[in-house]
């Protein structure tokens, strides 16, 4: 959905940055967004204050709020689909290959 939404807006994006954060995702504030999401999802309270402040400084409090909200939404959804073993649609296998991710056997 990242690629599709970027394409719909003619916005360049490097989706491999999702799995390799040394790369630039090419989106505005992309690096700051990734650092902030990492701090929330990994409950890294050492990194969180700086990551949040960096995103606040570059994109404003609204961006922090929305990034926290979207991250939180997927924190819930990810747990649901993993806990009940929803299999991964085969059409996503190619994207997995592109990102260097192998769908595990139990979700095929």
């Amino acid at each position: 959905m990242l690629r599709e939404s970027a394409n719909a807006q003619n916005q360049p994006v490097d989706i491999v940055a999702v799995t390799k954060p040394t790369l630039d995702p090419l989106l505005p504030n992309g690096r700051e967004i990734i650092a902030f999401v990492d701090a929330i999802a990994l409950t890294d309270f050492d990194e969180l204050p700086e990551a949040r402040q960096d995103l606040m400084d570059t994109a404003g409090p609204g961006a922090v709020l929305r990034a926290a909200a979207v991250c939180a939404g997927f924190e819930g959804t990810n747990r649901v689909v993993d806990a009940v073993g929803v299999t991964v649609n085969k059409r996503y296998y190619d994207i997995g290959d592109e990102l260097g991710v192998t769908v595990p056997d139990h979700l095929r």
Partner: protein, 212 residues
């Protein structure tokens, strides 16, 4: 300031706050298989397992184990865990209820962490016994639990309509209405652009080793 993630002045979104309060009221109400007090214990134990509080619950071991696994390392879930749940004399549909409660409290707590706010106080439990509300059309398809139709993120909890409905307001307040999730050219006018929101979603899923 009590917790490491808190800001002196937390960020506030009234729409999200209203959705959260509604969901917490539902968590604190009787479900299909569990009392309100039991559901609140799930929430309490999820917080403890994630290291957000220091207060453990008094749940039975098999239930506490399921809550902790889903709260902390849901990606390690396997069909064997669901089988063990059933071998313990529990209904697979009750497992769905547990997943629903744990997932929404984790979602709400992650939001509070992100915006620098304290965790919400859990409500007092509503009295009453559980009343099963089950969609009889649910059957096992492409997941370990029954679903109505193909199991996807929006339908994974569909065997229990009330649990599925509980989660929905959070999705809308935090992210997007299901109706526009796949309309990639729709820019919903949030504080981040649609591609920026999808970057958040993708990175979160990657960190959770989730393929959705």
């Amino acid at each position: 300031m009590q917790n490491a993630w808190e800001l002196p002045t937390p960020l506030v979104d009234p729409v999200a706050d209203e959705a959260i309060q509604g969901v917490l009221r539902t968590v604190g109400s009787p479900g299909s298989f569990f009392t309100a007090a039991e559901r609140l214990e799930f929430a309490k134990h999820a917080r403890f397992a994630r290291g957000l509080t220091e207060t453990p619950s008094s749940l039975p071991p098999v239930v506490a184990s399921a809550v902790a696994r889903i709260a902390v390392e849901a990606m390690t879930s396997r069909s064997e865990h669901v089988a063990a749940w059933e071998q313990d004399g529990r209904d697979v549909l009750a497992y769905i209820e547990l997943v629903a409660v744990v997932s929404v409290i984790c979602s709400i707590d992650s939001y509070r962490v992100g915006v620098g706010a304290p965790l919400d106080v859990l409500p007092d439990p509503m009295p009453g016994d559980p009343v099963p509300v089950i969609d009889d059309r649910a059957k096992k398809a492409n997941s370990w639990v029954p679903t109505v139709g193909v199991a996807l993120a929006p339908t994974a909890l569909s065997a229990l309509p009330n649990e599925s409905a509980m989660k929905k307001p959070l999705g809308i307040a935090f992210y997007l209405d299901d109706k526009v999730v796949h309309q990639y050219d729709v820019e919903p006018g949030r504080e981040l652009s649609r591609p920026q929101m999808e970057l958040v979603a993708s990175r979160t899923s990657w960190l959770n080793e989730c393929f959705f």
